[in-house]
C-alpha cells in the first residue's frame, strides 16, 4: 500500500521546527513518525501523520513549503536480519532506496518508512513476496 508522507521545507533557524509543530498541533494533526534531514542551510522535515491532507493544507496556508509524497511502510519483526531480508527483495527488483526511517509501534514488531525510486513497484514486489505494507487507513488508526 502507498502511504502519503508530509514533507516540509525548514530553514535552519532557531524555533522554526517548533512553528511547524505548532501549526500541526493547533489543527489536531497527530504525528506518528518524524525524520529530519538537514544541510548547513536548511532541512526537510518528513512526517507520517494521521491526516496528511489537512497537515499539508494548513501548513501551506501558514506560508510553509509543504507537499505530500508517496512512501511504503513495512512491518518487520524485532529479529536480527529481518530488515536485511526486506531490503534484499527491494534491491533485487532493481529499486533503489532514497531514504528510510523508523515508525514506532508498540509490541513485537517495528515499522520502517521507505522512500524508493519506484513506490508502486516496491509495493507490488513486497506483496508478491508475502510482505504486508501498511495502508493509509492503518496509519490513521495508530
Amino acid at each position: 500500500m502507498v502511504v502519503k508522507q508530509l514533507s516540509v521545507f525548514i530553514e535552519n533557524r532557531q524555533g522554526r521546527l517548533g512553528e511547524v509543530l505548532d501549526v500541526l498541533k493547533n489543527n489536531n494533526v497527530n504525528i506518528l513518525s518524524i525524520s529530519l534531514a538537514d544541510t548547513t542551510e536548511y532541512g526537510i522535515l518528513r512526517l507520517i501523520v494521521n491526516n496528511p491532507e489537512l497537515g499539508k493544507d494548513t501548513l501551506l496556508k501558514e506560508g510553509f513549503s509543504a507537499l505530500l509524497s508517496d512512501v511504503v511502510i513495512i512491518k518487520i519483526t524485532h529479529e536480527t536480519g529481518s530488515l536485511q531480508k526486506f531490503l534484499k527483495i527491494i534491491s533485487d527488483a532493481d529499486i533503489s532506496i532514497e531514504y528510510m526511517y523508523g515508525l514506532s509501534v508498540e509490541g513485537a514488531s517495528a515499522s520502517i518508512v521507505l522512500k524508493t525510486s519506484d513506490t508502486i513497484k516496491a509495493t507490488t514486489v513486497l506483496t508478491e513476496n508475502g510482505i504486508d505494507t501498511l495502508s493509509g487507513e492503518d496509519i490513521s488508526k495508530l
Binding site: Q5, S7, F9, I10, E11, A37, T39, E41, Y42, I44, R46, L60, G63, F64, S65, A66, L67, S69, K115
Partner: protein, 432 residues
C-alpha cells in the same frame, strides 16, 4: 489617447519653446535665488549668456546636497505666500528635501500627470485606486490630481490594510491600479490568500507603476499575477523635479516620454560631468523650465538611462528615456564589481521555482565582500537534489551576469519582508 498637443510638436518648435522657457527661468533664478546667483557669478555666467539650448551645459549643476544646504526654502524663487502646497522627501538620511508649488506649478503638475496617465491607457471611464502613501510623499497626490483631471473616478485608498484594498477593488470594480511594482505584487498575493484570483475575479486592467524600477522581469511577473491583458506602464519622476509626471511609457512600452516642454533633459558622464551625445548611457540631468516655486537648474537625478529622440509609433514626438537601469547611488561595488540590484532581480524572476520577493545582503568577511541573496521557494519538494539544483541555477546565472559568486539562501514562502512603498531589498552591512 494623446492628452496635449505639446506632445506632438515638431522638434524645431519644441526647441524654440524650450529655449524661450530656459532663458526666462535662468533670468528668474539669477534674480531671485541667491545660491544660484552665487554659483553663476563664480563661473562668470550671466543670464544673457544663455543664447541657445547648447548653452545649457555652461550652467552649474544642482544636487541633492544643494537642497539640504539651503533647507528649507533657500532655493525657492518665490516668497512663501505664493505657495499652495509643500511636499518633502522622506529624508532617511539627514534633512528632508523640501519642494513647494505655486498655483501655476500645481496646474503644470496636474497637466503632466494627466499626459502620463493617458499614455498608460487611462480614460474618464476608469476607476483608479491609488495605493501610494498619501502625505508628504508626492506620488499619491500627484497621480490623484492628474487622474481626476482626466475624469477618472479616484479611490484614494493609500497604502496598508491590503485585505481592505482587495475588497475595494472587487466592490468598486477598480480598473486602474497605482502602486509600486512590489506592492502590486504583494496585493496579488493577498488577493490569492483571500481566495480571489486577480486575473478572473478583479477588473484591474491598467497598472500605472512608479517610484521603483520596473524591469522587464518585474513586468512579466505583474502579468503572471494580474493577467496578460493588463497594460503595465512605468512612469518616472522625483519630488525635487515635480513628483510623478516627468516621464511615462505609452502602450508601445519603448521608453518613457519626457514632458520636455517642462523638463529639459541631458545625459552626462557621472564621473566627469561632461554631456554625452544622444543615445549614450549616463546620468540623467533635468532642468525645470516652467516651474515657479523651486525651478531646479541642471538637477543631477543620479538615475542612469539614455535618451532617444526618434518619434514613437504612438505619434508622440517627445524624447524618450529608457527604463532606468539603476541609480548611480543604488549601485553596489562588490569585490570591485559594479552591481545593480535590478540585475539580481532579473535573475531571480527568471527562475520559475522562486517567488518575486528577495533580499540582497552584502557583508565583509575578513578583507573580502560577501554577497548573499535570500529568496523564497515557490514550489514544494521532498528532494534535496531539487533544492540544491534551484540554488545552483540561481548561483550560475548570477555568476554569468555579475561575474560574482553569491551565496543563495532558500527560504519558505512568506518569510521575507513585504513592502507597501518603496521596497528596501538591499542590506549593505559593510559600512557598519
Amino acid at each position: 489617447m494623446i492628452w496635449s498637443k505639446q506632445e506632438v510638436l515638431p522638434r524645431e518648435e519644441m526647441q524654440k519653446l524650450q529655449l524661450s522657457r530656459l532663458k526666462e527661468t535662468v533670468k528668474r533664478v539669477y534674480e531671485n535665488v541667491p545660491p544660484y546667483r552665487a554659483k553663476m557669478d563664480e563661473v562668470g555666467l550671466k543670464p544673457e549668456d544663455i543664447k541657445s539650448l547648447d548653452d545649457l551645459k555652461k550652467l552649474p549643476f544642482t544636487t541633492k546636497q544643494d537642497m539640504r544646504d539651503n533647507y528649507p526654502f533657500g532655493l525657492f524663487a518665490v516668497s512663501k505666500d505664493k505657495l499652495l502646497r509643500i511636499h518633502a522627501s522622506s529624508g532617511t538620511t539627514g534633512k528632508p528635501t523640501v519642494v513647494g508649488y505655486t498655483k501655476n506649478d500645481m496646474d503644470m503638475w496636474t497637466e503632466c500627470v494627466s499626459r502620463i496617465a493617458c499614455m498608460g491607457g487611462a480614460t474618464e471611464k476608469d476607476v483608479a485606486q491609488i495605493c501610494f502613501g498619501y502625505g508628504m510623499f508626492t506620488g499619491a497626490l500627484g497621480l490623484h490630481y492628474g487622474l481626476e483631471n482626466i475624469g477618472a473616478t479616484i479611490v484614494p485608498s493609500s497604502t496598508g490594510n491590503s485585505e481592505k484594498q482587495i475588497m475595494y477593488m472587487k466592490d468598486f470594480e477598480t480598473s486602474l491600479l497605482v502602486a509600486t511594482p512590489s506592492y502590486a505584487l504583494r496585493l496579488a498575493e493577498v488577493a490569492r490568500e483571500m481566495g480571489i484570483d486577480p486575473k478572473k475575479d478583479l477588473k484591474v486592467k491598467i497598472g500605472l507603476v512608479g517610484s521603483e524600477l520596473l524591469t522587464d522581469a518585474m513586468r512579466a511577473e505583474m502579468h503572471k499575477y494580474w493577467g496578460d491583458d493588463m497594460l503595465v506602464t512605468s512612469n518616472y519622476g522625483m519630488s525635487e523635479l515635480v513628483g510623478p509626471g516627468v516621464s511615462g511609457e505609452c502602450e508601445y512600452l519603448d521608453g518613457m516620454h519626457i514632458n520636455e516642454d517642462f523638463f529639459l533633459p541631458e545625459i552626462i558622464n557621472p564621473e566627469t560631468g561632461e554631456v554625452l551625445p544622444e543615445g549614450e548611457k549616463g546620468e540623467l540631468v533635468i532642468t525645470c523650465i516652467k516651474k515657479e516655486g523651486i525651478p531646479l537648474i541642471r538637477y543631477r537625478t543620479k538615475d542612469i538611462t539614455r535618451l532617444n529622440y526618434a518619434p514613437c509609433k504612438c505619434g508622440r514626438t517627445t524624447v524618450r528615456m529608457d527604463n532606468l537601469s539603476g541609480r548611480s547611488d543604488d549601485m553596489l561595488k562588490i569585490r570591485g564589481v559594479n552591481v545593480f540590484p535590478s540585475q539580481i532581480e532579473e535573475v531571480i524572476f527568471s527562475v520559475e521555482e522562486l517567488g518575486p520577493h528577495y533580499e540582497i545582503i552584502v557583508e565583509r568577511e575578513g578583507y573580502a565582500d560577501k554577497l548573499t541573496v535570500r529568496v523564497e521557494l515557490n514550489v514544494a519538494t521532498d528532494s534535496f537534489t531539487e533544492l540544491e539544483n534551484i540554488s545552483k541555477k540561481v548561483k550560475n546565472k548570477l555568476r554569468i551576469i555579475l561575474g560574482l559568486d553569491a551565496k543563495i539562501k532558500l527560504e519558505s514562502p512568506n518569510t521575507l519582508q513585504r513592502f507597501e512603498g518603496k521596497a528596501k531589498r538591499v542590506k549593505d552591512l559593510r559600512s557598519l
